[in-house]
């Protein structure tokens, strides 16, 4: 399917990240949900690294 075909159909969107994208879609009556995604530990490198070390364990 080409991209043009995709946008010719009814879209159902999962939005992650910037909530304003979701708000714009809703204003245009596009079926959408917003996922509250954040980077691990809110982007804190030290905490993210600690968590990463635990994930690597068997």
């Amino acid at each position: 399917m080409s991209l043009n075909d995709l946008f010719a159909k009814e879209l159902k969107v999962v939005n992650m990240g910037l909530e304003s994208f979701y708000d714009d879609l809703k204003k245009q009556d596009v079926s959408a949900i917003h996922v509250q995604w954040k980077p691990s530990a809110g982007g804190d490198k030290k905490m993210s690294s600690l968590l990463g070390r635990l994930k690597g364990l068997k």
């Binding site: 954040k38 691990s40 905490m47 968590l51 364990l57 068997k58």
Partner: protein, 419 residues
């Protein structure tokens, strides 16, 4: 991380299989391990007199007067600061206390036994609302009421419980979360069930009709009476988790009005603390955030178990007290599933389609998602003795969980479990 998942599974088995049972009452001196006449137990992590906030200082002053160690507030304050009085967290003596949580040797306490593990937890009786010790009040009427509780209420309830036999508090709470309670700031149903269970036994005690009427009137006036049962029930359910090696499950969350403290299974008795936050909520007329004391009380042990704020969805009426909408209450509970390990097999929440309450806070998930546990709570005035000024929702500081995570990784390094 299989060994961590195995350890957490063990911790959750302990919590899920807990059987907190009210087995009687006693006087703190004879009942709480390590209690003595110059020991004052308090809510939250360890703290010195110098660092105590208004409500806790007021409660200490009231406790010393009640105990007969001082005859007026000035004497009590001098004694409190003298170094003669020992202070310790309730939590380090198998006890819990709401708000200031002050326990002195002569105070009667409930005795909860966790029948599945054989451990005990203790808590004083709830005084009711208004000017009370747990909000830092210490005027003569407070001491008079405490004396009535010791000399009249306690003997009658103690005898009634001897007549009734062991009372299954888990069963009471499992029913009440399906009746609109969350067992922290909404206790109306649990208290009603408790009175219903004990009524006949109270009438069979060897006490005057006049005193029995006063006991019933008092219980009926105090919707939060069973907070002082749900708290030690949660404490008794969670305490054995503190011995589970390698587990990242939180088994204590508490506040002393100055600092918030947590304890994590693998890290045993170590406290991880940070400044307690000011609560965002609804204030009584005439009061605002400027009057508020930082977060205080051991009652967040209910959230640690998965009740209280974690189960807010099941107690929509509470939003009239803490603010927000009933949808907010559902949203809070839904969020808490992100930072917990299992759903409770016992505390099922009708508005969540009977999903079990979010159980087993995992420090890894809290730090990873940045979602902090939600606690709903009363707000104390920052000055001793004024009392409650509102209620709202508060979170522990993220620092507590981050410090715990760092300590946990260091522990694994020490054990040679990490490359």
């Amino acid at each position: 991380m299989q060994f961590i998942e195995d350890a957490n599974k063990k911790a959750l088995e302990i919590i899920q299989n807990a059987q907190p049972t009210l087995v009687g009452m006693g006087v703190a001196r004879d009942t709480i391990p390590g209690m003595h006449d110059k020991l004052v137990l308090h809510a939250g992590p360890p703290i010195t007199w110098e660092k105590m906030s208004g409500p806790l200082r007021g409660a200490v002053i009231g406790g010393l007067i009640y105990q007969g160690l001082a005859s007026n507030p000035e004497e009590a304050e001098k004694l409190a600061a003298s170094g003669e009085i020992e202070y310790a967290p309730c939590h380090e003596h198998n006890a819990v206390g709401p708000m200031a949580g002050v326990v002195t040797a002569s105070m009667p306490v409930f005795i909860i036994e966790n029948k599945s593990q054989g451990n005990f937890a203790y808590c004083t009786m709830n005084e009711g609302l208004g000017k009370v010790l747990r909000f830092g009040a210490y005027e003569p009427s407070v001491i008079k009421h405490l004396n009535w509780m010791e000399k009249t209420l306690y003997p009658i309830l103690k005898e009634a419980l001897e007549i009734y036999g062991p009372m299954d508090i888990k069963n009471l709470m499992a029913q009440s979360v399906q009746m609109g309670d969350e067992c922290h700031n909404r206790n109306k149903a649990t208290t009603s069930l408790f009175i219903r269970e004990l009524a006949s036994s109270i009438l069979q005690t060897n006490s005057s009709k006049e005193d029995q009427i006063k006991v019933f009137d008092f219980l009926n006036s105090n919707d939060h009476f069973t907070l002082n049962l749900s708290m030690p029930a949660a404490k008794a359910s969670l305490e054995p988790v503190g011995k589970v090696k390698d587990s990242t499950i939180v088994y204590t969350m508490c506040r002393n009005g100055t600092e918030f403290g947590i304890r994590v299974a693998a890290l045993g008795n170590r406290w991880f603390t940070a400044p307690a936050e000011i609560i965002d909520g609804l204030y009584f007329p005439g009061y605002s955030m400027e009057d508020a004391n930082p977060d205080i009380g051991d009652s967040s042990i209910t959230e640690t178990l998965g009740l209280g704020g974690f189960s807010m969805a099941t107690a929509p009426a509470i939003v009239q007290f803490v603010g927000g909408t009933s949808q907010d209450a559902v949203n809070y509970t839904t969020q808490m599933y992100e930072i917990t390990t299992e759903e409770s097999g016992s505390y099922k929440l009708p508005p969540m389609n009977f999903r079990g309450s979010p159980t087993g806070i995992d420090i890894r998930k809290v730090v990873d998602t940045q979602i902090r546990p939600v606690i709903n709570t009363g707000i104390a005035h920052k000055d001793a003795g004024v009392g409650q000024v509102g209620a709202g929702v508060v979170n522990p500081p993220m620092k507590c969980f981050e410090d715990a995570l760092e300590a946990y990784v260091a522990l694994l390094e020490e054990e040679g479990m990490l490359e």
